[in-house]
Subunit: 498 residues, 2 copies
């Protein structure tokens, strides 16, 4: 049976290798692809997708899993993890008819196109029929797979195995309520007139600084790259991680923090057990866990005064002119300012989770039928008014702002806030174990942090669900309280609120 | 039966798509790959190679070809071309046992490694056993396929279908003999003391100039890119061509002409009928035809006085300091200087074909058994003395200089000179049809040339063998005389020899 598990791992590694090629084609499309080559690239990606699907659903894979199932009682813990993860994936893909899969793919491509047009026109109703169709398609898929009563929970499970509405509700509702209170307090005290105006940060020193920072954090340039693209992302698997950023002369903060964020994702991938590449032991735990890594580096580490205690003089040396009139206090205000604005990706540590909460509430309502698609923009705007005190001026800066729904990626949004929740819990544990972390950050040293994450998160691969992983790493159940405490302490402290 | 041909074309297109992904992984390896990611890349490339082999040799492909074979008598000319090309490829791959293919691949990888070590050490005997093994492997493969009496002709045919030793001998022998005479005459007259010393050509203007030139020539940046790599190359298919170059401050000529050369390859690929991508109608005719395109642009167009009549003032404007003391005559001498040196890739239009002739003669002797592998370095050096009047000081600058044999690519070298022969014939025809070509080049216009090549070479895909293609394009049989005339006229003219 040992041999059969090795067979399975070999198969899974091969599939993951093919998937890594597909990711790589995606990377190149965003970074290098000549504009006329998009048709060729689509054909390449379709061919790879078809081959990956064939490998995933091969009869021989089914037969192997069946043979293994008979011996499942005798498996080691590790082998059980590998087997069960493979079985879940196989069953899901096998139960979805090919005709449905291609219908869904076509719909996604058309829907994405319509979403870009609708967003440009600021007209939700252009996109509404496609959104409706995507909800129906998700329900149809969930019915084929038959693993969940609720189609929305089926979707959530796809991003974070084992996560459910009850758990998320119990975390998000008190979080949203307390964040609203916190937000009001902060908005009253924020000295907005002292936020500096940033301009004239030359791009070459920005790139040089970025490289210094992400190298210091631990990104392994021998097994990865950073390039430029329209939107920052991190792709790639195993030994070859490709992340991207973008540079603006008048907004050096965007590039820096999005890159620290992507580096967090990259470090997770670079820290997974390479010898288990392709199977559950060598895969990330879920999207929430992934996001916990990027957020921890971006927010807990990067958006801190101790972080700048080390980097300030280096930064000023690279940008003597642009930084001339800006004090450290002003600089920190730029990095920690709270913004009640309609766009999620431009928001801040505090309001970000409210943006997510709104989307989560709406997704649930769309799926349980209590919110008709036609009423979505109104409901969206009402919730923005309720939680952020603002009303989007149009659908482009409202309900049409995110790409996710255009591809039917419902149930993805919660992972962002689950990641934030988790990052705060990890940060607490890390600081309890290593009380000198802040001093290390102030000295530009990140090895203890990375090592702790390597041992307590990365090394586990997909052995655990998100909830289990948090318990294993921190000894605590998943809870919104550490995130609230972290935000209160940090922002009350910074704004001098008692 | 129409439908079956469409099925075949669809299959071939899919295979070509997968092959294009493999080429693309190769491009990335040379241009972008982090140094620690090579292991991952090898696994990716092996996975793709395996899948491509599976698609190429699928039983369903065999069955389709068998069905088609029954109706072959009724095929249109085009369908016959597509079918026969597919059949040849299928039969070849099907007859080679998988165990042999993997043995060969392993041997190639080990041999390449040993070749790099041997070249570094300057010790041919370190590499000799691998060379011997590769010759045996080629003979074994030729025996499996059974399409040719001679294993060397089997190899040649792989690069240029239908080409044989008799044809090449009849071209190369008089060519080598006359080139030797020409070379002696030129070496006597060459004013080597007037060759300028080039230095201090900044890289940015080099890149800018290069972009101007290859854009003017017709490279379509909407369907391709140029990047940097250690050695220049051109990869990619159909709608996405990736070529590379390299830049040296003290050698702007290397980058410029290697890029014009690669642009010639790129224009051929970009000119193939895109709707026939993957089948013989949309593929290049052979390596000789490919090389004829790169050489024509590099040599007949680029290495000419009329070419610089247009570009000189632009070049001087970009490099005012570096070009200050260099007259146009001196500059042309730099570009047209004849070099009796041991390294093929650093040679010139005249001696290049002697470098190839030497390799061709040695390959024949290695395959017919008249030259034992152990005697190769001596035979190599003797031929260099005979044809170029120099004796390599060691194996590194002698028999170990080229990568080809390390991978068992015997029969490839002749394509280079066949390409040169062909380019001169095409150039004659082109100038007979369009007597104003030189004036157009002098005005920086290349549309007539490109259009002629599009119609007379590119549009034909792989309808014809190399010999047939030359006849169709020029009305002449393949002949070394136009190349000799071209070289004599050009170099006698430039050196003032009557």
């Amino acid at each position: 049976m040992m041999e059969k598990i090795t067979d399975l791992k070999t198969r899974l590694k091969k599939i993951a290798t093919l998937e890594s090629i597909l990711e790589f084609l995606e990377w190149d499309q965003q970074v290098n692809l000549p504009k006329g080559s998009i048709g060729m690239r689509s054909i390449q990606m379709s061919a790879m997708t078809e081959i990956i699907h064939r490998e995933n659903t091969a009869d021989s894979m089914g037969a192997l899993l069946e043979t293994l199932a008979e011996a499942a009682g005798d498996f080691s813990v590790d082998d059980k993890v590998v087997f069960e993860d493979a079985q879940i994936k196989y069953n899901r893909l096998k139960r979805i008819p090919e005709s449905f899969a291609s219908r869904k793919a076509e719909s996604q491509s058309e829907s994405y196109q319509k979403w870009t047009e609708a967003r440009k026109a600021g007209d939700f109703m252009m996109f509404a029929p496609y959104l409706k169709e995507h909800i129906e398609l998700c329900k149809e898929e969930a019915a084929y797979v038959g693993s969940h009563e609720s189609a929305y929970e089926y979707m959530i499970d796809h991003f974070d195995r084992g996560m459910d509405i009850e758990t998320i509700d119990a975390l998000f509702r008190p979080l949203a309520s307390e964040l609203s209170t916190l937000l009001r307090a902060l908005m009253e005290k924020q000295p907005t007139d002292k936020v500096p105006v940033l301009k004239g940060f030359p791009l070459e020193p920005q790139k040089a600084f970025l490289t210094q920072v992400i190298t210091a954090i631990g990104f392994d340039f021998d097994h990865g790259r950073i390039d430029e693209s329209l939107h920052p992302f991190c792709l790639g698997k195993g030994q070859d991680i490709r992340m991207t950023t973008r540079f603006f002369e008048d907004n050096p903060v965007d590039s820096l923090y999005s890159s620290i964020h992507e580096t967090g994702h990259a470090l997770y991938e670079q820290g997974l057990p390479v010898e288990e590449f392709g199977n559950a032991l060598g895969s990330y735990a879920g999207m929430a866990a992934h996001e916990s890594q990027s957020r921890l580096w971006e927010n807990q580490v990067g958006r801190s005064e101790v972080f700048w205690r080390f980097w300030e003089k280096r930064y000023r040396a690279l940008f003597p002119t642009a930084m001339a009139g800006i004090s450290l206090d002003q600089w920190m205000l730029e990095i920690l300012k709270i913004k009640c604005i309609p766009i999620r990706v431009d928001s801040d540590e505090v309001t970000y989770n409210l943006h997510i909460f709104i989307r989560y509430e709406l997704e649930k309502a769309l799926f349980d039928g209590s919110l008709p698609v036609e009423d979505l923009p109104g409901a969206w705007n009402d919730l923005y008014e309720k939680y952020l005190g603002i009303r989007p001026r149009n659908d482009s800066e409202g309900v049409l702002q995110d790409v996710h729904w255009s591809g039917g990626a419902f149930g993805y949004f919660p992972s962002y806030t689950l990641g934030n929740i988790m990052s705060a819990q990890l940060w607490d544990s890390l600081n309890q174990t290593h009380p000198g972390i802040e001093d290390e950050i102030a000295n530009g040293q990140y090895g203890t942090i990375l090592n702790w994450l390597r041992c307590n998160i990365h090394a586990h691969g997909r052995r655990y669900t998100t909830q289990e992983l948090v318990r294993v790493a921190t000894g605590q159940t998943l809870s919104e309280k550490p995130l609230l405490n972290y935000l209160k302490t940090k922002y009350f402290g910074f704004y001098g609120i008692e």
